[in-house]
């Protein structure tokens, strides 16, 4: 197992080099200029622009710029954001957790709703409950996230005045220890509901189809023949096997957890990665864009690796040697 992980980690290096070359090439070919925001500035002289170009190394040949970027990245330096005037790594570190909080909690919420619903839907296939669950899942998958978010803001925020409508903290308020976190939690309720419910739909369908496949298997009949309680048959024998594909799905959603739900962060003005990425594109902030993309590439690869490793833990038939 240890050898397998090390081998897989070493395999990630050439993949990451490839990704970095591709990313750099795409951004080189993209129209526009990192310093475009200064072109229309009347206070900037041509000389100052040249100085800036030299400072960012933009006057050098592309391949040298690439090596420069990569060698710095290896040492943990992802560059310096032009628009926000801060190191990219510290920007990512700062925004990462607000996004992760929303994404992680909403995913837990999704699973908490989806797994029991999927199980009941499968064990009572074609019942009213199953059709109800399917309708719920289809609604969750097909309702536009921004629309659902606006609807919640109108109902819970504006009409009922139960919850704050946007942001992460109450503006200007200085609160003592438990209250500051409670404040963040209150601001996060609506984004959590939106992401949790819309995400539950697809997870529920996955659980349902996986369960349907498993409860027709022979070893379920064996479990019944043992005289086990139906609960034990379903939740111990069937569900544990049915969750294997769902766990893989979770591994693949690691990068999604961090990249953030862009629309949600824009509608609720939540200071997360998604919004930062959006702003970096709007501002043509090349170092920030490239830094975020590289970060997501690393996460995608780690997510795949984690999914592969977790297979070995949940399925004893799989061993890596």
């Amino acid at each position: 197992m240890g050898k397998y992980i090390i081998r897989r980690l070493l395999q990630q290096i050439p993949i990451l080099v490839g990704v970095s070359i591709l990313l750099f090439a795409i951004f080189q070919m993209a129209p526009g200029n990192p310093l475009a925001q200064f072109f229309n500035d009347p206070n900037m002289t041509a000389e100052q622009l040249q100085q800036l170009e030299a400072a960012y190394g933009l006057d050098r040949p592309a391949y040298l710029q690439y090596f420069d970027w990569v060698t710095k990245m290896v040492r943990g330096n992802f560059g310096y954001s032009i628009s926000l005037r801060q190191p990219v790594s510290s920007l990512i570190a700062e925004r990462m957790w607000t996004t992760f909080y929303i994404a992680f909690v909403s995913m837990l919420l999704s699973l908490l709703i989806a797994i029991p619903l999927g199980v009941i839907s499968a064990t009572k296939q074609y019942s009213i409950f199953d059709y109800g669950g399917t309708i719920f899942a289809l609604m969750g998958v097909s309702i536009p996230v921004f629309f659902f978010a606006l609807l919640l803001i109108k109902i819970l925020g504006v009409d009922a005045r139960l919850l704050p409508i946007s942001g992460m903290r109450t503006a200007g308020a200085r609160m003592a220890f438990p209250y500051n976190y409670l404040d963040i939690f209150k601001h996060s309720i609506m984004p959590l509901i939106v992401l949790g419910l819309t995400g539950a739909g697809s997870f529920m369908r996955y659980t349902r189809s996986s369960m349907l496949e498993i409860i027709r298997q022979d070893f379920i009949r064996t479990a019944r023949a043992k005289g086990l309680k139906e609960k034990v048959v379903i939740y111990k024998h069937a569900l544990r096997n049915a969750l294997i594909p769902v766990i893989t799905l979770l591994g693949f959603s690691l990068p999604v957890l961090f990249s953030g739900a862009l629309l949600i962060e824009i509608v609720f003005i939540w200071p997360g990665m998604g919004r930062m990425q959006f702003q970096s594109v709007m501002n043509r902030d090349y170092p920030l864009m490239m830094g975020i993309n590289m970060f997501l590439a690393i996460l995608t690869l780690s997510g795949n690796l984690l999914a592969d490793i977790s297979y070995a833990f949940v399925d004893p038939r799989i061993r890596f040697d």
């Binding site: 022979d218 070893f219 043992k226 005289g227 096997n241 949940v314 399925d315």
Partner: protein, 328 residues
Amino acid sequence: MSEIITEKKELIVVENLKKYFPIKSGLFKKTVKYVRAVENISFTIKEGETLGIVGESGCGKSTTGRTLLRLLEKTEGEVYFDGKPVFDLPKDELRKLRTDMQMVFQDPYSSLNPRMTVGEIVGEALSEHGIARGQENVEMVKDIIEKCGLAPYHIRRYPHEFSGGQRQRIGIARALALKPKFVVCDEPVSALDVSIQSQVLNLLMDLQQEMGLTYLFISHDLSVVKHISDRIGVMYLGSMVELAPKDELYDNPLHPYTQALLSAIPLPDPRNRRKRIILKGDIPSPSNPPSGCRFHTRCPYVMDQCKVEVPEFREAKPEHFVSCHLIK
């Protein structure tokens, strides 16, 4: 032999058991037809005896075995286990009864939970029924898998680490861990290599001796059934056509289907040829069975009566039951 058996009590009594599976189709999933998998079967099994059931694929052998244990719900009829009506028991009592009646399944690959170790597979029922927990459970599991020809250290392994024959031994250990009285063996050796088949059959017979088990042994292999059974029932298209003690059935088959079936057993000596009775046509569909005697479409001795009247399943000779109009 038969004198001793007749003195023993009847552990299993099956009366007119029927099992139909609905075929649903159309917009509103209306039941349009039934697959008549088991049609009016009656037989008894005495304590300590092995009743073999033979028949072609799809003739309802496995469905009979599963319905008998109420792993499937019946359509009609009744099954008595030790005097208790199996289908009238509430779910709780049925679960308790499962410690007395067990099943060895056909496919040793798919019938074991891939995520459980052998120790868990064999020991789970013991702890769920409150028979043995903790260390006692482990000891009992080790004991039974050793009896079934596995090693005690195997309890920590997963099913996929074993060969087919070993897996079937796990399946047998699993069924016998609860010390049942009655075991349905649903083609327990048909997925195995011929050389392994005899090992597993002998194991089943040894365990029967040792634990005083009663078997219902389902198979499509006539020589396997002959090897292990005391009495044999022959099934065709969901009905039992003949039931007799083993030697009587093989020496003196009464039903034309049984005669055709027995003529198909290959003889070990190629010079010694048997006259084969070749049946014409295919097996009719169990969703649309022929009228009268179900065998009449393929029977070489078919009469007009056979096409309209269902023959009664009656005792033609002592202990020898057959359902055919030819036998008066």
